[in-house]
Every structure is written in structure tokens, then in C-alpha cells.
């Protein structure tokens, strides 16, 4: 089981707001007998999807170099369960940011109906947790490309953003050392 709980970015405004989609499918592991006869998607994973959406919105501001973790769910309210075939649309808004962390408000919709609302606090971990980011830059770059982040991302002024140089360098170094 991988740990990707969003499928694709639909919108990404630097430092402000991101929208992702997550398709719920009968074949994914968490649905296996989560409730026989009424398969549905665990709400904790919807929180994770929002944490991934908001967390990437936050860490992009420092070129994905920071160590960002979910520290607190102030509140998360769910109005009905999501079922196989449903597509979740997750909107994360970055409402405040300080050196130690940030605050995100999130809403989830299915077919235009509000399925969930939540408030999340992220912590930005200091160097006592190590100096490197948690993700290997070239691997994270590949995943973000697959999720179309750089395709849809824009600054508030409407400009496209570039793939971070340190990630491109890491990718280049790896490919150069693995010739055919």
C-alpha cells in the first residue's frame, strides 16, 4: 500500500490555495472489508488527503526543502461517507504561516456537495530532526509531476512556477550515474 491519498492537482496558487482530487475505488486496500456490504472510504484518509494537499502547498513555498508534518486536527466534520466511484475534491486554503508552522482550512466536496470541513495545523520541524528533507528530491519531483502540480501551479500574479533547481540537480546526478 502506497501512501498517496490524492491523485492529482487541479489548482495550485502559490502560498494561497490548492485543489486536488482523489478517486475512491473498490479495489484500494483500505476499503477491504472496512464494512462488508457497504464499502466506504475511511475518514482518517480524507484528513490525510487534505494534509497532503495543504502540506505540499506549504512546503512549496520553501521549494520542498522544509520538513512539514501534520501536528493537530483542530476539527474535522464529515457529513456523509464516501463510496467507491465517488471523486473527492479537496480544497486547502493556507490561512497563516509562521516559522514553526502553518494553519490550513479544508473543505471536501463530492459532486458539488460538501462532504467534509476541517482545520489543520502543521508543524515545520527544526534541525533536531535532521538537516535533510524527508523526501528524496528526485523522487518527490517525479510524484509531483505525475500529480500535475507544475502544470497547474501559478503564482498569485498568474505566472507559472519552475521545478526547483535542487530537485532537478538531484535528478540529473542520479541519471548521469546510471547510464545504459
Amino acid at each position: 500500500m502506497r501512501w498517496f491519498w490524492i491523485d492529482r492537482f487541479e489548482k495550485f496558487v502559490v502560498g494561497k490555495e490548492a485543489v486536488t482530487i482523489k478517486n475512491v475505488t473498490l479495489a484500494e486496500e483500505p476499503l477491504d472489508d472496512y464494512l462488508p456490504g457497504h464499502p466506504h472510504y475511511p475518514h482518517s484518509l480524507i484528513v490525510e488527503g487534505m494534509a497532503q494537499t495543504g502540506g505540499l502547498l506549504l512546503s512549496q513555498m520553501e521549494q520542498f526543502l522544509q520538513r512539514v508534518v501534520l501536528a493537530k486536527v483542530t476539527k474535522a466534520d464529515f457529513f456523509f461517507v464516501a463510496q467507491p466511484g465517488d471523486q473527492l475534491r479537496l480544497t486547502a486554503k493556507l490561512l497563516g504561516r509562521q516559522a514553526e508552522g502553518a494553519f490550513v482550512e479544508g473543505t471536501v466536496e463530492i459532486d458539488g456537495k460538501k462532504q467534509a470541513e476541517m482545520e489543520l495545523t502543521f508543524a515545520i520541524l527544526d534541525e533536531s530532526f535532521g538537516k535533510e528533507p524527508f523526501f528524496i528530491p528526485r523522487d518527490l519531483l517525479r510524484i509531483l509531476r505525475a500529480m500535475r502540480l507544475f502544470e497547474v501551479a501559478r503564482t498569485e500574479a498568474g505566472e507559472r512556477i519552475e521545478e526547483p533547481q535542487h530537485m532537478l540537480d538531484d535528478e540529473q546526478a542520479y541519471l548521469a550515474s546510471h547510464p545504459f
Binding site: 501536528a71 493537530k72 494553519f103 482545520e119
Partner: protein, 127 residues
């Protein structure tokens, strides 16, 4: 400029939301850490809620003078020196430091902050 009653109600609401405590627990004299159980991760949440409720910006060092409390020139043997106390008073003019001054142990500082202190801080930012 909102009245002190209005400020208290908004601060109270922010603390009820952020800490999951009941309204009647959030009295003016209640300490954030001791009485209301606030932990460091809650402070981020509280700061964001106050910024949103009052339209103000709260730089961390205005509420949490970590830089003074960890500065070797202002702390000796785990206690804040006289110079350090003056720095604290200058940085946090809205805080009531008289109790702290009696026994200014760095580790006790976090327990100082009361709901009232927070209201007075907000008032100074709005005034």
C-alpha cells in the same frame, strides 16, 4: 476599537475552539498552560485564530519571548536576571510579571500567561 468585553468574548471563543475546553473554563484569570491545558502545538492554532478574529498580525516573539529566555546574557542558573526582566517588561508591556519576578525561573515562564494577558495583548495591537 472593540470594548474589553468584546475582546474577551472573541478571545474566549478562539480558546474554546483551539483547546476544546468549555466556555466557563475560560475565565480571565485562567492560565493558558496550567488551567486550560495548552501545549506548544496549540499556541500556533491560537495565534492563527486570534489573527483571524481581530485582523491583526501576531509575530511569535511578541507573545513568546524565547529569544530572551534562552539568551545567556539574561539567564543565570535557570533564572532570569534583572536585566532579563527589564527586557521582558519592555517586550511584553501588557503582561503582569509581578508573580514571576518573585521567583523568575525560566521553566515557569510558560505557565504565566493568563487569558487576561492575552486580552490585554490584543488590545495593545488594536489600539
Amino acid at each position: 476599537m472593540p470594548s474589553s468585553e468584546e475582546i474577551f468574548q472573541k478571545v474566549q471563543a478562539a480558546l474554546v475552539d483551539a483547546l476544546g475546553v468549555e466556555e466557563d473554563e475560560v475565565t480571565p484569570e485562567a492560565t493558558m498552560v496550567g488551567d486550560l491545558g495548552a501545549e506548544s502545538i496549540d499556541f500556533l492554532d491560537i495565534v492563527f485564530k486570534l489573527e483571524k478574529a481581530f485582523g491583526i498580525n501576531i509575530p511569535r516573539e511578541e507573545l513568546f519571548p524565547d529569544d530572551i529566555l534562552t539568551n545567556a546574557s539574561y539567564v543565570k542558573d535557570g533564572k532570569v536576571t534583572e536585566q532579563g526582566i527589564s527586557e521582558l517588561k519592555a517586550r511584553l508591556p501588557w503582561a503582569n510579571l509581578t508573580n514571576f519576578e518573585q521567583n523568575p525561573r525560566v521553566q515557569d515562564f510558560g505557565n504565566l500567561l493568563t487569558v487576561n494577558d492575552l486580552c490585554r495583548y490584543v488590545a495593545t495591537k488594536l489600539g
